[in-house]
Amino acid sequence: MRALLFALLLAPSLALAVGRPSEMLPDPAAEARAQAIGRELRCMVCQNQSIEDSEADLARDLRRLVRERVAEGDSNTAVRDYVHARYGDFVLLRPPFNWVTAPLWALPAVLLGLGALVLLRMRRRLATRGGPTPLTDEERARLAALEKEP
């Protein structure tokens, strides 16, 4: 009875693991490399998951492809470039820098620059206006009289 309960408790975790171990490369270092590459590649049909996280068919095909390339001795960039050449910029979870993505990367710097410009202009305007005008002799005399009063 207890064994059955235990088996039932284990069943879901077994179900989740199905398919994965068979996909893995026997060499742990190569498998780690394949996973590192896979985590940088977007699953094109689920869009906000990497191919390592997704159970979609296409993600599984790409995982297998990445592992084949790694097993054949391709470098990480070579594997990434292979997928990038076929699926375009969108497959890379880290957007590359090119003329399409330049505005995206430049925007924070542009906004910061604009803010600095506004601050600078405000300060300059304060500076040109100068401090308060000095008191006239008449006003100074009145002030002195006021201060003398108890």
Binding site: D61, R86, D89
Partner: protein
């Protein structure tokens, strides 16, 4: 702020956010309109292969179907615009698309089929039932050809020009208005 400039700049401060919001609104409205009439797809990503030669890998024919497989020469420089169509018998949108393929074939358009992750017997039954628009048919049991083309899913169609360069990709079923609005002008241009 000097006294003379004050009313103008104050008005600018008042109107700037309104103007910004209005511009944003117009942009958003244009996006929604585009989504409704199909000219804008927020999830659509242009194929990375546009302007590049079609991948040429050797693929086996589909067993039990009397059609030759796709030979590399058919893709290299076909001399006329050619469609490469990924499909599968298990794919419901492919059933929806199929009459358009048959109509294109009747008009003399050359269509090369790639049967994606399918069982040959099911594929054969599909073609008997819905008609065969393909001049050649290759089997992509593992989905490898799909990856070479940067395929998302089935159906998906690629237009190759006379030199075998990919000019157009359509993800999803081609409907009659896809043909009239998108494909026919391209076929005329590349004929």
């Amino acid at each position: 702020m000097s006294e003379a400039k004050s009313p103008l700049s104050r008005r600018a401060i008042l109107w700037a956010p309104l103007g910004l919001a209005a511009a944003g609104g117009v942009g958003f409205w244009a996006m929604l309109r585009g989504m409704r009439d199909g000219s804008y797809d927020p999830r659509g990503v242009p194929s990375a292969l546009l302007g590049k030669p079609a991948p040429r890998m050797a693929l086996p024919p589909v067993e039990g179907i009397e059609l030759p497989t796709i030979a590399p020469e058919m893709l290299a420089s076909p001399g006329m615009p050619v469609l490469v169509n990924f499909w599968a018998s298990w794919c419901v949108p492919c059933v929806v698309e199929h009459p358009q393929l048959v109509a294109l074939q009747r008009r003399g358009v050359r269509i090369l089929g790639i049967n994606y992750k399918d069982k040959p017997a099911d594929a054969a039954r599909f073609l008997v039932r819905h008609g065969n628009p393909f001049q050649a048919l290759a089997a992509d049991a593992e989905g490898r050809a799909g990856i070479e083309y940067g395929l998302y899913g089935v159906p998906e169609t690629y237009l190759l020009d006379r030199q075998g360069i990919i000019r157009w990709r359509w993800a999803g079923p081609m409907m009659p208005d896809t043909l009239s609005a998108e494909l026919d002008p391209l076929l005329r241009r590349h004929a």
